[in-house]
């Protein structure tokens, strides 16, 4: 009943929002936490939070902004609660022999894990940039930080990833 009243006020259907944005919320959390089960829990929490705040949601765009922002916050909180780094050490990850012209799943997995080793803030910046294809200004608004800081996190993270890949004999193409 409460959900229906809220939907009547906003004109936005909660079930539609879940269907439309579940991949976005789940993936933000999954790529940040590198833990499928925990990411599902976080994503469910985020949607439950949205359901409670449906009265404050003004439009579809506002819902997307809200979901991204809260997914980032909840994922960071979950990582802090978990208080441990990704469970598989980088040394255990198989190294791709050479970069193929088409998408290489081994390189993809290595990159996901390397991103997973970044500190919390730059990791979330990277996930938002490359998963959601957001501009630095949009990331800055979501994570409430200056654009220059976002750009600096991106540059430093890319340099670090490049260095780690080169040490493993990947890159320089």
């Amino acid at each position: 009943m409460i959900g229906l009243e809220r939907e009547e006020q906003t004109g936005i259907d909660f079930a539609d929002l879940v269907r439309e944005h579940q991949s976005m919320v789940f993936s933000l959390s999954y790529h940040f936490l590198h833990d499928r089960e925990l990411a599902e829990e976080v994503a469910q929490e985020v949607f439950l939070g949205l359901h409670r705040h449906m009265g404050d949601i003004k439009s579809g765009e506002h819902a997307v902004f809200w979901l991204r922002k809260v997914a980032a916050q909840r994922s960071i909180d979950a990582a802090r609660r978990r208080k441990r780094r990704p469970q598989v050490a980088l040394e255990e990850v198989a190294e791709p022999a050479a970069r193929a012209a088409v998408y290489d799943p081994l390189l993809g997995e290595l990159l996901r894990r390397l991103v997973g080793t970044l500190p919390e803030t730059p990791r979330m910046v990277m996930v938002m940039r490359y998963q959601e294809d957001l501009a630095p200004a949009e990331i800055a608004a979501l994570l409430e930080m200056p654009i220059a800081t976002v750009k600096s996190h991106l540059q430093r993270s890319l340099a670090l990833l490049r260095e780690k890949l080169e040490r493993r004999g990947v890159g320089g193409y």
């Binding site: 959900g3 079930a15 579940q22 991949s23 994503a43 469910q44 949607f47 998408y103 991103v115 998963q131």
Partner: protein
Amino acid sequence: MDWLEEELRQALERKDPPPDFAARVAHATRVDSAAGSGRVVRVWPRWLPVAAAVLLMAGGAAYREHRGRVAKERVMVAMRITADQLNHIQARVREAKP
């Protein structure tokens, strides 16, 4: 965009949650709404703090009165004991005189 950024974009592309995710969210929201509507909100009556203050003041006054009564009784008992002892000493002094 260089090759690394392109690889990152592909590596971090969106993934689907389990197929029952939306159903689980719907269930969780129903449980949450039910818990929210069934929540007992305790509203204290406005007169309650005034009544509590009056009771405290009355209780304080009664306690002070009680303590005064007890002190008075103790003084009276002490005076009675002292008087008895004085009478006793006086009697012995009288007996000792030739």
